[in-house]
């Protein structure tokens, strides 16, 4: 668009009173409608985000509460399995502690107990740190590039 054309458009839009103003009204109406649309979209988005966030917060609170209840139940189970309680219950059922006289060790002729060889448990190797990408264009490019390179490496390993 040349400078003459721009000049004539400005003159045409802001022409003096008494001339036909339909184009001005149409342009302004368009701007207003676009602004309203953007506003509406923004409001819808904000409302949805806030609602979802509230739901997330409620779920997070619920999770924390469930975790606490879980801990509490674990404690209750441990208390129900405590030895003084088990011994009392066993005595009520007529059991008594065994003594050495109650136990006979049987020596089986020819049996050789083979104690399993203790093998050291290998310490698991720490997982390689996960690459962190930020939410920027360069972050997105880095992510795509890494994914492509990984695919290439896998393809090369398979080959």
């Amino acid at each position: 668009m040349g400078s003459d054309e721009r000049q004539s458009w400005i003159q045409h839009t802001f022409q003096p009173p008494g001339r036909d103003q339909r184009q001005l009204v149409a342009t302004l109406s368009l701007i207003v409608i676009v602004a309203i649309l953007i506003g509406a979209l923004y409001l819808i988005q904000t409302t949805t985000t806030t609602t979802t966030a509230r739901q997330l917060q409620e779920m997070s609170n619920y999770r924390a509460r469930l975790e606490r209840e879980n801990e509490r139940l674990r404690a209750e189970i441990a208390q129900l399995e405590s030895l003084p309680r088990l011994m009392t219950r066993a005595a009520e059922l007529g059991f008594r502690p065994a003594t050495d006289d109650d136990i006979d060790y049987i020596v089986v002729e020819g049996y050789r107990y083979n104690r399993p060889q203790a093998t050291p448990t290998p310490t698991p190797l720490p997982a390689p740190p996960t690459q962190v990408y930020d939410e920027t264009l360069s972050g997105w490019f880095a992510k795509q590039w890494d994914a492509l390179r990984r695919q290439f490496d896998e393809w090369q390993n398979e080959g």
Binding site: T50, E71, A78, Q79, L83
Partner: protein, 593 residues
């Protein structure tokens, strides 16, 4: 026409005026945005920050404590601190009515707290109840009353209660602050590991941002697996309670260890400590007497004298002396327990019959032959006497070993130390020293934590030797004499262990009081291990002021009663069966002990 002109002129003036006001307002708005006074800007930003975000400390889950078989000894739970923001309460009367029964506070008191203050303003926070139980807290949450501030407070539950309280310790508020921490026992010693790492997190009041911030993880505490066997602990406590009642003793301790590894399998004490009661009288019992209280061990200490003499080479089984019954070395009068003279007595007789004159003579000759008492004290230190064992429990005492040059030392003490008077040890120190004889001369580091579990990583505590006060050969000779002490028909400490060979020694210690010893009571004890030729368990029994004065009458029967059931729980076959298994090439101790 003139009227129209006037109208247009006024309209122009009004339009101009309104435009001017608009321009001023816009200019002011722009100045707020771009040219605000820095002080005002800072204050407003601070207010905005406080309104939309807050920094809170997020606490990690405290590590749990298990016994060696995976039974929980300390587990986390929650209590709640109940507060309210009166300025957010909609219906004060209803709020007070609903809360009163749940927090056990009178309704009118709650209502009063919800009223405006003297300045006529409603406060932003009022504490209603510092601590309520888990169920009450959950019930208050379910009410969903506006303005409630319900803070979860981590707490501990000890499922075994009194049974393991003195060795596990407790978790409670510190004296200085409202934060909670572990005290005594394992809770105190491993406070840093169990506590994990809290984190200060700034959370936003804008929900979506809060979610983003709350994903930051804190480091949870490390779980601990103890060497304690819950079944053995119960057995030891049951036998101790029975013994204390039978002997009308004021207190007592039973300590069970694996001499090969230094693992503590059980520590039972009387009186017991209730971890759920915080009365001052109960709190005083929280410390563990097996590691924190020292006592004069009496004749059980003679096994240390015996091992030292054999190790130094100054004495052996062929040595003998003429027992005078009483004599006066170092300006003090030392007598046998019966006060009688017994003529020629051998080295073994000294320990089988527990002659004080014999051990004093041995100490005297050792000092003469080794170049002075210092060499003898150095050997005592090799057994760990006078130093803390370094056990991983909070509150260990070092014991007392007065040495030449100390203000509280005198020459008489040197002789009395040979039979366990004038020297003070903890029960753990005494058993650890005796374990050197059971473990071929090596003293293992006593410990109570078997494993540390950090997420998927398990760190095992490896048994570690701290000293070698005696050689393997000396340990075996000392062990054989300890077997004679229990088996010799002439021994006062003879006991019937038909199925097992047991090594042991009794002790009857006088109780020191200012100016001398209390004639009215004693500390009766027994130290032993079995099977004598391949020990897997060592035991110390100690009773304070039993009705039967002598260790052989009060403590040794307790050891006998304990061993009868201990071998069942630990799956220790009788010697005969064990030898048969060994002859076949089997391993008698298939269970890990």
């Amino acid at each position: 026409m003139g009227r129209d002109e006037g109208f247009h002129r006024r309209l122009t003036v009004i339009t101009g005026f309104m435009l001017l006001i608009s321009a001023v307002l816009i200019a002011r708005l722009l100045s707020f945005q771009f040219r605000m006074d820095p002080a005002v800007k800072s204050r407003l930003e601070s207010q905005a920050q406080n309104r939309y975000s807050q920094t809170v400390e997020v606490y990690p889950n405290r590590g749990q404590i298990y016994d060696r078989n995976g039974n929980l000894l300390a587990v986390n739970s929650f209590e709640y601190r109940i507060g309210i923001s009166p300025n957010q309460v909609v219906n004060r009367a209803e709020t007070a009515r609903k809360l009163a029964p749940l927090i056990d506070v009178p309704e009118d008191e709650i209502y009063r707290k919800l009223q405006p203050g003297p300045d006529g303003k409603l406060s932003t926070y009022v504490l209603l109840k510092p601590v309520v139980g888990f169920e009450a807290g959950q019930a208050i949450m379910d009410l969903e009353l506006p303005g409630m501030v319900i803070e979860p407070l981590p707490t501990r539950i000890y499922p075994e209660g009194e049974l393991t309280a003195q060795l596990v310790g407790i978790f409670r508020d510190s004296d200085a602050s409202r934060t909670r921490r572990g005290y005594w026992g394992v809770e105190g010693f491993y406070q840093t590991l169990l506590a994990g790492q809290s984190k200060k997190v700034t959370t936003s009041a804008i929900p979506v941002l809060q979610e983003a911030a709350s994903i930051t993880r804190v480091r949870d505490g490390i779980d601990l697996v103890l060497t304690i066997d819950r079944d053995l602990q119960f057995l030891a406590q049951e036998i101790l309670n029975w013994a204390v009642q039978r002997e009308q003793a004021t207190g007592g301790t039973i300590l069970i260890m694996n001499p090969r590894t230094g693992e503590i399998l059980a520590i039972a004490n009387y009186p017991m400590f209730d971890p759920n009661s915080l009365t001052p009288e109960n709190i005083q019992r929280a410390r563990n007497p097996a590691i924190a209280d020292v006592y004069e061990p009496g004749s059980v200490f003679k096994i240390i004298t015996m091992a030292m003499a054999l190790q130094a080479g100054t004495h052996d089984e062929t040595w003998s002396y003429n027992d005078p019954g009483c004599f006066n070395p170092g300006g003090t009068r030392i007598c046998n327990w019966d006060g009688a003279a017994h003529g020629n007595q051998t080295f073994i007789d000294v320990f089988v019959n527990s002659w004080n004159t014999g051990t004093s003579t041995i100490f005297m000759q050792m000092a003469q032959q080794l170049g002075g008492p210092y060499a003898v004290y150095d050997m005592l230190k090799e057994f760990g006497i006078g130093s803390p064992t370094g056990v991983d429990l909070e509150g260990e005492a070092a014991g007392i070993l007065p040495e030449p040059g100390d203000l509280d030392w005198n020459e008489a003490q040197f002789f009395t130390t040979s039979f366990g008077q004038g020297v003070a040890v903890t029960p753990l120190q005494m058993l650890t020293a005796a374990n050197a004889i059971a473990n071929d001369g090596l003293i293992m580091q006593p410990h109570i934590v078997k494993k540390r579990i950090d997420g998927n990583e398990v760190i095992e505590t490896r048994p570690a030797a701290t000293h070698r006060p005696i050689s393997v050969e000396v340990a075996h000779r000392a062990r054989d004499i300890m077997v004679r002490i229990v088996e010799d028909p002439a021994s006062l400490d003879k006991y019937e262990f038909t199925r097992f060979k047991v090594a042991g020694k009794t002790g009857t210690a006088q109780i020191p009081i200012p100016g001398g010893y209390d004639p009215s009571g004693s500390i009766a004890s027994f130290v032993g291990f079995l099977p004598a030729d391949d020990p897997v368990v060592s035991v110390l029994v100690k009773l304070d002021r039993p009705i039967n004065y002598w260790g052989s009458q009060a403590a040794a029967p307790v050891f006998q009663e304990l061993v009868e059931r201990l071998v069942v729980l630990m799956e220790i076959p009788s010697d005969q069966e064990r030898y048969q298994l060994i002859a076949q090439g089997g391993d008698p101790f298939s269970r890990e002990y």
